[in-house]
Amino acid sequence: MERSRGGLGRFAFVGPTLVLLIAFNLFPLLYNVVLSFTNAELVGDGWKWIGGRNYERVFTDARFGAAVRRTAWFVFCAVGLELGIGFATALALQAFTRVRAVLVTALLIPMMLSPAVMGLFWNLILNGNHGITNQTLDALSLPQPQWLTDREWKLFSVILIDVWMWTPFLMLISMAGLAAIPKTLYEAAEVDRASRWTVFRRVTLPLVAPYLGLAVLLRFTDALKQFDLVMATQGPNDTSTQTLSTLLYQVTFRDGKVGLGSAYACVILVLVIALATVFTRYLETIQRRTA
């Protein structure tokens, strides 16, 4: 009696969440797997099993390989720059003890804005003819690239916007990590006659590393899904900026090929889980060493 009531009581707490998770996460996931083996389309409701043919198409599609490479390059550049600039800014801010609060607030603004809105703003800023960037470059008699329409510059521009948006996040986490290092350790290192470079390399860096790792992991999984900035500046079907997410969108909702899109989604999911697992493991080993 006691036990069954306990079980019921527990279910009352966990139940609603469980139901929601099943309805909105687990079911769609499984349904997506089912769809990936069919020729379902967005319009019309007749579909039949076609076995693994969708997957065959995914792996032979040139767009898919290109999107994988492009997304990887995007993640590498964007997160790399965000880490470098964010951490450097955090280090530099340590020198400004007085005005730090004001500076930090100002620097955090980009992070708090909606990515879609940001994309639209940057459309104006980077506009080839009347954007403020090129007007400024014009005034300085410098070359004015067509940021959003030149194939050579498009992806770079998207990376630039992402860096602009997310560098503050890396900066914030870096600052938290730096603040968590006890002052005594710096005093100890000074007494131990460590040079500034040695202090940075042997004390600061290893102790912030777990924080940086966590921030990079979060940014990494997020950047892999890059969608809004590309959509806002280029649309889903632009050949030089198409990422995995926009390709998926193009196939499923523009082309209306739901079955094929589901196969794409499954492949991407496996890819992301695999990468995230490797990364998390690595992060755990760093943390075990320091925490």
Binding site: E187, A188, V191, R202
Partner: protein
């Protein structure tokens, strides 16, 4: 010539707190000096100025004949043991101890030998590859000690290194620190608020209060001939008994009782009479009468607290003779143990 010479050292923090108010101190090479005082007396600030972790507002510090007042810690050739260890959490015990050598550019092989030797001496060998967080407080402090000594600095500075340890560990570590210091003859300045620890370790105790030195002398001298009331009260547990009275006609009168001859140096007027518990005996007859409040048995002896008409007096008596609370008792003072203090300045009268 002194090895460390401190002249007119002062520290005023931004905000106006005057932590150290003009200190002069000479320390001989190989000496173990303990800075003793209550919290806020300026002892830690003085130590940190010696290390260069804090810069003085005025005054100079000379170390081995070199003026170092404004030098960075790295340029002073010192070792420092922090109260909360200050070990690098991401380095193993061996790596922590090796770090000062690594910074000094000592070649790997020599480094390993010296680290091994140091770990062996402090009984840390089995912990060499452990990380600090997995060690007990006592072991962490031993690692900190090893790290501070491995480079054989000219001056070793310790900021309440035993403050966070339990009683048993404290005694053990104090003994270890003293043994190491005697063997290496490294000039050491050690900060503590624990007077017993200070007595046990020091060649010389520097008692501080209110940012000033009250007395700098051997433990015995500090205990037997305190320079003033503050030192008399701070050193010794239980504290020295104190009676306020008048000198009249060469006699010390207190609450109507005549407690014997006053010192020649005491002019007629108010003086303070100080006597440590071990110079007070209890019996049927004596200088003062009172009632036993508490009889505290501590194994090797007893501390008996007696309420008299002129105040409470503590006596240290033999462990074998218990005293019943409420019993009437007479107190006798051993003339040799009596110290006199000026009632106005608190300074001891010769």
């Amino acid at each position: 010539m002194s090895f460390v010479a401190i002249r007119g050292l002062e520290k005023t923090y931004p905000g106006g707190t005057r932590a150290v108010r003009g200190i002069d101190l000479d320390i001989a090479e190989g000496e173990f000096v303990v800075l003793l005082g209550p919290s806020g007396c300026g002892k830690t600030t003085t130590l940190r100025m010696l290390a260069g972790l804090e810069l003085p507002t005025a005054g100079t510090i000379e170390l081995a004949g070199r003026e170092v007042t404004h030098l960075r810690p790295a340029l002073r050739d010192i070792g420092f043991v922090f109260q909360f260890y200050g070990l690098y959490p991401h380095m193993t015990v061996a790596e922590n101890v090796a770090f000062p050598l690594e910074c000094a550019g000592v070649p790997r092989e020599e480094r390993q030998n010296r680290v091994r030797y140091m770990l062996e001496r402090l009984g840390l060998e089995p912990l060499a590859s452990k990380y600090p967080r997995t060690l007990s407080g006592g072991d962490q402090q031993r690692v900190a000690l090893a790290r501070a000594m491995v480079r054989r600095p000219a001056l070793s500075l310790m900021d309440e290194p035993l403050g966070t340890l339990d009683a048993e560990r404290r005694a053990e570590m104090a003994e270890l620190i003293r043994a190491q210091q005697i063997q290496q003859r490294v000039t050491t300045v050690y900060v503590t608020h624990d007077q017993e620890e200070a007595m046990r370790l020091a060649d010389r105790i520097v008692v501080m209060s209110g940012g000033e030195i009250q007395q700098a002398a051997s433990p015995m001298e500090v205990y037997d001939s305190p320079a003033n009331r503050f030192v008399a009260h701070f050193v010794g547990s239980p504290a020295m008994n104190e009676l306020r009275g008048r000198v009249e006609g060469g006699r010390f009168l207190c609450g109507g009782a005549d407690l014997g001859p006053a010192p020649a140096s005491a002019a007629t007027g108010e003086v303070l009479f100080g006597v440590r518990p071990e110079h007070v005996s209890l019996g049927e007859e004596g200088h003062l009468h009172g009632e036993v409040l508490v009889d505290e048995y501590v194994g090797s002896s007893r501390f008996v607290y007696v309420q008299t008409a002129v105040g409470r007096i503590t006596a240290r008596v033999g462990a074998a003779e218990p005293w019943r609370p409420g019993a009437a008792v007479a107190l006798k003072f051993d003339g040799k143990g009596v110290r006199w203090f000026d009632a106005a300045t608190g300074r001891r009268l010769p």
